[in-house]
Each structure stands twice: as C-alpha cells, then as structure tokens.
Symmetry: C2
C-alpha cells in the first residue's frame, strides 16, 4: 500500500493548543473528526487537558449542577487508590467511582489547504450534562444534507456512551442526548439513507460474553436506534485480534460502502484497515483487509502519551485520493494520502 | 412489610417441565414474565436445559444456519479451559469464545387461578438468530393496547443484548430484533405512552467506568430507542450495593410509576425493592426502598442452583393486591402477595 504522509506531520501537537483552564497542561490534541465547511477544512479535535500532579494526583471533573470544573485531589501515598495507570485513579474498594487525571472536550482547528491548521481559542463542545462529567472524546462528523451530525464518546462516572449533536455552521449546536448507552464508543453514521433507513456502526464493550467489536444499527430519525446486529469481529492472530472499532464515516464507492476502521492487537498496537459493506444492505460484509492499510511507523506515531497508535476518526475523499486524518500516539494529529482504488483492490 | 407467600410455593419447579431435548435435564424453570390473556394467567418461563456432563463437559449451542441444536464437548482434563464455574466453559486464551453448559428458551405455563399452573409441551420462543445461539432468558411482558411486547435477554458468543418480540395471542409472534446492544438485560417497557413517548428501563453492564445500574430510554415506536439517561444507582452498604436491574413492568399509581426492581449485595444475595418515578417524567426518581420489600427467607428461596435469590420479572395488580411472581434460587417460580399501599408508604 502506498502511503503519502504529509511533510507537515504532525499537523497539530499539544503545544499548538493553548489550555482553556488556568494552570492546566494540554497533553493531547488528537482523534479529530473532519469536515468541509465552505472553503475551510474543519478538524474537530479532542483536546485533553490535565491539572499538575505532584504529591497529590488531581482529577478534573465537570460539575453539571453548578456548571463549572472542580479538581479533586488524591494523596499519592493513600493506598485506598490504585495509581499505576497515570490516566486514572482507581479506588480499591467497591463503593467509590474511578476518576480520570485529564478531561477532554472538542475544539475546532481550521485550514484552507488541509495541511496548515489554526486552532480556535474556545471550545466547540464542552461538558454540560451529568453524562459528560469526565469529558467528550473522539468525535466523528457525518454530513447529511446541509447538517453535520457529530457522534462522540460521552464519559462520566456512569460509563462511556455515545452522544449526538448537530450543527449547520459549527457555531450553533443542537444536543440530542445519548444515542447508545454504556459501554459504547467509535460510532459513525452513514452519510445517506439506505432503503429509507439511516444506519450507524458502533462498538459496544461487553463485559462477560463477547468482545469489543463492530455492530450495526438502524434508525428512522437518527435519534432513536434499533435492530442492532453484530457486523465484524476480531481475528485471532491478526493485526485486529484484540479490539476493533469504526473509524471514518463510511465512504460510498461503486463496489460498496468502504469503512476505514481501527484494530488493536495483543500488544495494543493500533492500525487502520478497511472493510467493504454491501451498498444496499450495509449489514452484509463483502471484503476486508488482510493487512493494515496504515500502521504506526513514523516517530510521531510510535512515541507519545500512548505509543504505537494510528487512529482515524475521519477522511476526505477527492476522486481517487483519500486524505486520511488520524490521531497519533494519543497525542497529536497527522494526515496521509492513500489511493481509493488501491485500498479497494487490496481487500479479500 | 407483610408478605403472603402462597401455600403452593414453589408453583413450578424443574421437575414439572418435560425437557424439549432428548437426553437433556431441565435445571431451571424460573424468572418468568407474567400476563393475563382472556381468563388465563400466562407465566412465560425461562426454561434452562442441560445435556449430561461426565468425563466431558457439554455445551449446547443453537446453529442458526442449519436451525438445529449442536452439543460441543470439552474434556474435563483439558487445561485450556477454566471449568470452575459449572455454568460456563471459559477458554484461558483470548482466541476462543466462552460457552454455557445449559441453554434457555421461553415456555408458557397457564393457570386459571394464578396458583396452579400447567406447562405447555412446546417452546413459545426458541433460539432462531445468530444473536440467540446460547439462548433466551428472563422475559418481561408489557401489554400495550391489545398487543403484548416481550423483552428478553438474547445470549450468544457475541454478548448479552435485549431482544423484543410481540404477540396478540401468545401463539403468533412478530420478531423485532435487538433493541439494546450488549451488554444489557433487565429491560421493561412502560405500559403506556407518557407525553407522547414510550419509555423503557434497561440495565447496561459497563466494563470500565460505571456499574450495573438502571437507565431509562425513550422511543416513538418501541423498536428504536434514544435519549438514554442514567436513572438509579447502587447504594454502598445497602441491600442493593452491587448490581440493580428493573424487575416488573412499571405499575401506574396515583403517586407515580411504581417499579419493583432487584438488587444484589456484595454476597450476591438478590432481593426485591421498589422505586417511585414521576408520572409525567419517569426519568425523575421520587422515592425508593430503604429496605427490601422481599428477601430470600423460605427454603426454596435460599437453596437451589444459585441460592439466596428472589428475582421478579412480573406482577399482577388487583386493587391493593400486588401478586408478585418471582424466580427463586435460579431454579423455580413462586408468588407472594403484598399490599400496594404498604409498599408506597414504605418508600423514602
């Protein structure tokens, strides 16, 4: 697979983003949704900010009643908490919820050419409800008619579910609540009705039976979803053996709907691959990548907050050129161009 | 709380049910949904059947392609499998799915008086799809107009989700697919529209953040669901500290919607309690049981396949009398009468 990584990569790094919160540090500007708005290319970044941690470990939490951020403090020596994962504060007893050491929200970066981006000063979507107290993550943008529908992970002590908002101008936002309850993420909406119905790919995380795999659901109105079916599983011994999830909004081609999805292996290396779904029944898998179409090779993909990760939430397609925007190492954003026909030819 | 347990308890036990599968043993006839159909009381049992296990442990699995049951065999000495939970065969490596040692399906028992039941010879709802290969469990029946909507746990190697079927006569069934993806169970539909919308209580099982607690969702058509909200949490140190889930279809009272739900504590003792929801906005909790309204005390509730369990999937209400039907010890069915007013007065 020929992959042309932009010379400007990484396109956005944490140091390009001024923190919204006084005294906080931006530790990630990554896993962005992508859209065209007029002459601009809009990158909807997940920005992760963290308060300083020293003798105390701090957890930022949005208070939905008073509509403000509060910072909880945990003593590093307090053995009631497990702190070995730097991203989380996990109580050892059953009574208390876990907390995260950073909070994510969605913020726009704009570009005239898709290579040079300017980050907005303010948030586009910030926590607001009791289901967003730990933040908003990993947005995907589906343009349906003249409206952009944005799905994102809504994170709180009650779990990780999928939120939906819509906008026509990336200024005014209509909130539609949670469309999939916990535990679920990596949701993309198909950009057209198929046989009169809307479709979504989503990724439940079952606890007992089952694995983190890709499911499909249908809807009459985008807000309420049913007829959930299991679509695509992990493959033992492959690059996508441990967990998979939808990445880009599905791309309509003559051969079928092309979905570029992520897969992680037992070593937690995240790659991108492709699956082709039937044009008239997207619940039917036609073909799939044996090998990844993109894997973490560049230094900025291998090293970072969580290394060895390429993770796309959106692509722009012009003729045969797929501009795949993707988060690298849970830290920054990059872009690579691939050939649509070459991806399609590579599928089995 | 005054509780009048029927003298006939347990009303149905496994030995009252002839196995559907040659050579299998019925190990449970429990967690039944309940409805009135004409002059009859219908108990929709979860029947669990098991093939014999000796040197080999056997796992019954429905094959949705050939529409027949197959029985997989696992050598008891094969250390690739963890067999310490007699209900499951759990592979120690990541590549293979787990299996169950029994399969459940739904079967009707009929009664003229609610105390003496006769079990049908055939299944009412048997596995049919690739999402039901491990069985159907724990049905709830909501009568809406002249149609009965039945929600149940749909169990397969892909996870445990919530299936929906409808019937008018308990003979002809319309299947509506999975309304909630894994991991989810314990779903009850409200028997009326509220402010033009249908509502459901459901119980996701999140893996990372969150606990097995009660959520509420809304729908225009009963088939597609959205606006998921967290409704009711576990209470540390209480009888419902570890996991909770909806039990009966909500009962309309003058004070609000009365939901009789189950809660388990750290010792996995399952009790029934009550919560009162706002009549016009069932997403609002008005009051809740401090203490259980029913707890496992009788011998048939304490001893069985999984002891110390009372677990209701349905009640019939006549004036002040709540006839609470409930599974006992994951084995049999029982019924107790409680006073509606006494339950309401007990709430805080």
């Amino acid at each position: 697979m020929r992959v042309y990584r932009y010379e400007q990569n990484p396109l956005i790094t944490p140091k390009d983003v001024k923190p919204l919160h006084e005294g906080f540090e931006v530790i990630g500007a990554f896993n962005a949704g992508i859209a065209r708005l007029g002459d601009e290319i809009i990158m909807l970044l997940r920005v992760a900010e963290r308060p300083p941690s020293d003798d105390v470990v701090r957890a930022p939490v949005f208070d939905p009643v008073h509509k403000r951020m509060v910072v909880l403090e945990f003593n590093r020596l307090d053995d009631r908490y497990d702190l070995k994962d730097p991203r989380a504060i996990v109580p050892r007893s059953a009574g208390e919820p876990a907390h995260l050491t950073s909070i994510s929200y969605l913020r726009i970066a704009r570009s005239p050419d898709g290579r040079h981006f300017q980050v907005d000063d303010h948030a586009f979507l910030y926590p607001e409800t009791s289901l967003e107290t730990f933040g908003l993550e990993d947005p995907r943008i589906a343009q349906i008619g003249d409206t952009y529908y944005i799905t994102y992970s809504s994170v709180s002590e009650n779990g990780v579910g999928v939120g939906l908002v819509s906008t026509r101008d990336f200024q005014n936002v209509v909130r539609h609540g949670l469309i999939f309850p916990p535990e679920n993420k990596d949701t993309v909406l198909f950009p057209d009705r198929i046989g009169g119905k809307y479709y979504a790919l989503h990724r439940p995380v079952p606890c007992s039976l089952g694995k983190p795999e890709i499911w499909i659901a249908e809807s009459d109105n985008l807000l309420q979803w049913g007829n959930h079916r299991h679509l695509l599983g992990c493959r033992h011994g492959h690059w996508d053996s441990r967990r998979i999830g939808a990445g880009t909004v599905p791309i309509r081609t003559e051969m079928g709907w092309l979905e570029l999805y992520h897969g992680a292996d037992q070593q937690d290396r995240y790659c991108m691959g492709a699956v082709l779904l039937d044009l008239n029944d997207p619940g039917k898998v036609i073909a799939r990548s044996e090998e990844p179409i993109l894997l973490p090779e560049a230094a900025y993909e291998r090293d970072g907050f969580f290394g060895n990760v390429v993770f796309s939430c959106g692509a722009l397609v012009d003729g045969d050129v797929v501009r795949l925007y993707y988060g690298v190492a849970d830290t920054s954003m990059a872009c690579a161009e691939l050939s649509l026909q070459e991806i399609l030819r590579s599928l089995h």
